[in-house]
């Protein structure tokens, strides 16, 4: 049997290639329906005269399901509310309702790419999905297919680089934006400050430090006295904190994304009786999950950044935006509980920003949509904090690049204008 195999395989291959050639020759032209075939000016897929469909791939199960579910809930609630009001009037004069098709990718890049492939023929644009690898997995495919990947939830700067990513736009601030905001506040201080830096040894930490350093460049009153890193997999940063405590710094810029490490860093510093002003990234600055167990109140100031109103905060309890949002989230977003993650608010803002683009878009095409999306300036989306806005015209920046620095008040955060 083995002996005959060689010749049989050869015949098989010959037959198959002949068959393949014939079929390619006659089938090539008739085989339509693949993206990129649409004629100029014709409506893109996923849009009709009375509705438009948007696609989302995001983690709905697994470890990141919490924030992932929020990314769907906010935008679904927003358009659910708008649809109930009769829909949105687009720039071409037609009024359309907005439908959302969301798929679970479990934070698996392979599944995200598969979800994109299955959605791209039916949806007008992809939006709101969470995660760097899960958005990177199909970024190039979206460019090749000319499918918008608009207002996604990742701080990865590549999505905000118009040359690299012509069909993409990130929504949330990139890491650099956050570091820069704190740097600017610090540079504006009237006093002199010595800064210690402790950052995660990856693109997350590097992005924060890069933004921070660019903001304090040339500021005579700021001196970085020591700079240390740790690995995201480390179980302790006690050694680094001890070393930094001896540097005599009065400010620590702590670009850390791991919750337990952040808590133990705060505790270790108190144990050493080192009480600097402390900067934390937006995703590791939760008052309940981090600052309370870490004893944040012991420090003269714990700072972080934000651009969204926190619905739980008593300061916004009577806010009209917040009340509309919370009731829509319950009614249309299939999210009955108070939102546990800021991604719910961000997703709501994505809805408002998309509406903004829809009203400016003159043709029912993806090209026209991207053009409209890239021409929004100073749009104050609902739930946005004062002094922050959506601006999509700046090269290299995500839709939200302005953040305000906030200071911990023992329970929540207050926006601060200057560093005291």
């Amino acid at each position: 049997m083995n002996r005959h195999f060689g010749s049989r395989q050869a015949i098989g291959i010959a037959a198959v290639s002949a068959l393949a050639l014939t079929l390619t020759a006659c089938g090539g032209g008739a085989d339509s329906g693949r993206s990129g075939d649409a004629a100029e000016g014709a409506p893109s897929p996923g849009i009709t005269d009375d509705s438009v469909t948007l696609g989302i791939t995001t983690p709905l199960s697994g470890a990141t399901a919490g924030p992932g579910t929020c990314t769907v809930a906010g935008v679904t609630a927003y358009f659910g509310m708008k649809n109930a009001e009769g829909g949105i009037e687009f720039g071409d004069g037609k009024t359309r309702t907005v439908e959302i098709e969301a798929l679970d990718d479990t934070y698996d890049p392979q599944q995200a790419a598969a979800n994109y492939d299955s959605l791209k023929g039916d949806v007008f644009a992809m939006t709101a999905g969470l995660g760097t690898p899960t958005n990177r997995a199909w970024r190039e495919a979206a460019i090749a297919d000319e499918v918008p990947q608009a207002l996604i939830m990742t701080g990865d700067p590549i999505f905000s680089d118009t040359d690299e990513s012509p069909w993409q736009l990130g929504f949330v601030p990139i890491y650099q934006n956050e570091g820069e905001a704190f740097g600017e506040l610090l540079a504006g201080s009237s006093a002199e400050h010595k800064v210690a830096i402790l950052s995660q040894n990856d693109d997350f930490g590097e992005g924060y430090v890069e933004g921070f350093k660019s903001a304090i460049e040339g500021a005579d009153n700021i001196e970085v006295v020591q700079e240390l890193t740790y690995e995201a997999t480390d179980t302790s940063v006690d050694a680094q904190i001890t070393e930094l405590a001896n540097s005599g710094a009065d400010v620590i810029f702590n670009a850390m994304s791991v919750t337990p490490l952040t808590i133990s860093a705060l505790q270790k510093a108190q144990q050493l009786n080192w009480k600097p002003n402390w900067f934390l990234p937006s995703n590791t600055s939760s008052p309940t999950a981090i600052l309370e167990p870490g004893g944040g109140a012991a420090f003269p100031g714990v700072y972080s950044v934000s651009f969204a109103k926190a619905p739980q905060s008593p300061a916004f309890a009577q806010d009209e935006d917040v009340q509309t949002y919370l009731s829509a989230l319950k009614e249309y977003g299939n999210y009955p509980d108070p939102p546990a993650f800021p991604h719910c608010q961000w997703s709501w803002m994505v809805g408002a920003t998309l509406e903004q683009a829809f009203t400016e878009m003159e043709e029912p095409t993806r090209d026209s949509f991207m053009e409209a999306l890239r021409s929004i300036e100073g749009f104050e989306a609902p739930l946005m904090l004062p002094d922050t806005s959506v601006t999509t015209t700046e090269a290299g920046q995500p839709a939200v690049s302005t953040v305000v620095v906030q200071k911990y008040n023992g329970r929540g955060y207050d926006t601060v204008e200057s560093f005291e």
Binding site: L23, T24, L103, T106, D108, G121, P133, I158, T233, N334
Partner: protein, 375 residues
């Protein structure tokens, strides 16, 4: 598995039933059948990419990727009986080698060779240490692979692109072929995956496969016949790693992006589940495992995207209860069901039916009496 072979064996071996199988096997032996069936299959596979929609082709290609990964796992687990929980690591390693090679502009053939070699060498080194331990210790060592792999991939950002991962779009349909990219990708997966399946088929059918089966069956007997269990465990693990590397190459052909998430531990368990669901120690089972791995998340997404994990768990339990031997045992289970039901008795191979019950009875009885007599 064992129980099914026990019940079916006497039926097949009983003298009165020999007429039916021999006529069936002579049918299979006819030259036009032996040549025609594989040719027809090949022709079908060759035409498939041309007639499918883009999304269909893409799904098929991803099935191919994970079928190869499951096949590798089957070599070490299904055929050799060594628990490995690290197969996804070798897929990830292969994907990274491919991405790095492509981004560095190396010749694609060289990249492919390295994608085979590097995971194979990594697998060999792990196996040399782990196979000495035996039993659950191998499972423990292999668990460590993806657990170490993810942070390692993040750390070695010069080679891996860190947590942002690496893209490599290197498979575009050649100019003038008239093919769409998805068709070309599917052809690559079919050809490379097909060759891997064919080679593995011959491997497990041949001398080495027999040694794997002996080691799996009884390590002491293997030793008593001059077969070193250690050596064959290492060999099986190395081959599984190599095949894992190839699946990583195919992963890059289809997905075109890899990141530390690609090799997260959860996926290793999913591969294991896919192998068991498809059918352990089976070539066809590996393909069915690939189908399960790829299609089930799509189906559960279509039913309700917010309940995917729950639905997948329910489906897994359902399959294991109904078909403990995996999906590959479905035809056998259906046949048995037909034979048992009176309606099926008339239509399904009459000569085997009457002989099956008395045949198994006579075979079992002396065993029982002898054991009782001696006790």
């Amino acid at each position: 598995m064992a129980s099914s072979s026990k019940t079916s064996a006497p039926a097949a071996s009983a003298p009165t039933s020999s007429a039916a199988p021999s006529s069936a096997s002579s049918f299979r032996q006819r030259p036009w059948v032996r040549w025609g069936a594989p040719l027809l299959l090949l022709a079908g596979l060759a035409v498939l990419p041309l007639v499918g929609t883009e999304s269909f082709n893409d799904t098929l290609a991803r099935i191919g990727v994970f079928a190869v990964a499951v096949l590798g796992l089957n070599v070490v687990m299904g055929y050799t009986g060594q628990v490995s929980l690290g197969q996804i690591f070798f897929l990830g390693l292969g994907a990274y080698v491919t991405a790095y090679g492509v981004q560095s502009g190396w010749n694609i053939v060289l990249v492919f060779v390295l994608t085979c070699l590097i995971p194979a060498v990594a697998g060999l080194l792990v196996a040399l240490a782990a196979a000495r331990l035996g039993g659950l210790a191998i499972a423990m060592v292999t668990i460590a692979l993806p657990i170490v792999g993810v942070p390692l991939a993040k750390r070695l950002s010069d080679f891996t692109g860190g947590s942002q991962g690496m893209s490599a779009r290197f498979v575009e349909a050649p100019e003038g072929s008239g093919l769409y990219d998805d068709q070309w990708q599917l052809y690559l997966v079919l050809v490379i995956g097909g060759i891997v399946f064919l080679l593995t088929y011959f491997l497990v059918r041949g001398k080495y496969g027999r040694a794997f089966a002996i080691v799996k069956g009884n390590e002491n007997v293997a030793s008593s016949m001059g077969i070193s269990p250690y050596r064959y465990k290492v060999l099986a693990f190395t081959i599984a790693s190599l095949i894992g590397g190839v699946s990583g190459f195919l992963y890059m052909v289809v997905v075109q992006y890899t990141s530390p998430e690609t090799m997260s531990f959860g996926h290793s368990i999913e591969l294991l589940v896919a192998m068991v669901i498809g059918g352990a120690g089976s070539i066809v089972g590996s393909i069915l495992g690939g189908v399960f791995y790829v299609v089930v998340p799509d189906i559960t997404n279509a039913i309700d995207p917010s309940l995917t994990a729950l639905l997948q768990g329910a489906l897994l339990l359902a399959v294991l209860f109904v078909l403990p031997g995996g999906l590959v045992s479905l035809p056998r289970a259906v046949m048995r069901g037909l034979r048992r039901s009176p309606a099926g008795r008339g239509s399904a191979a009459p000569p085997t039916t009457p002989s099956s019950t008395p045949g198994s009875g006579t075979a079992a009885e002396p065993t029982e009496t002898e054991r009782q007599g001696s006790a």
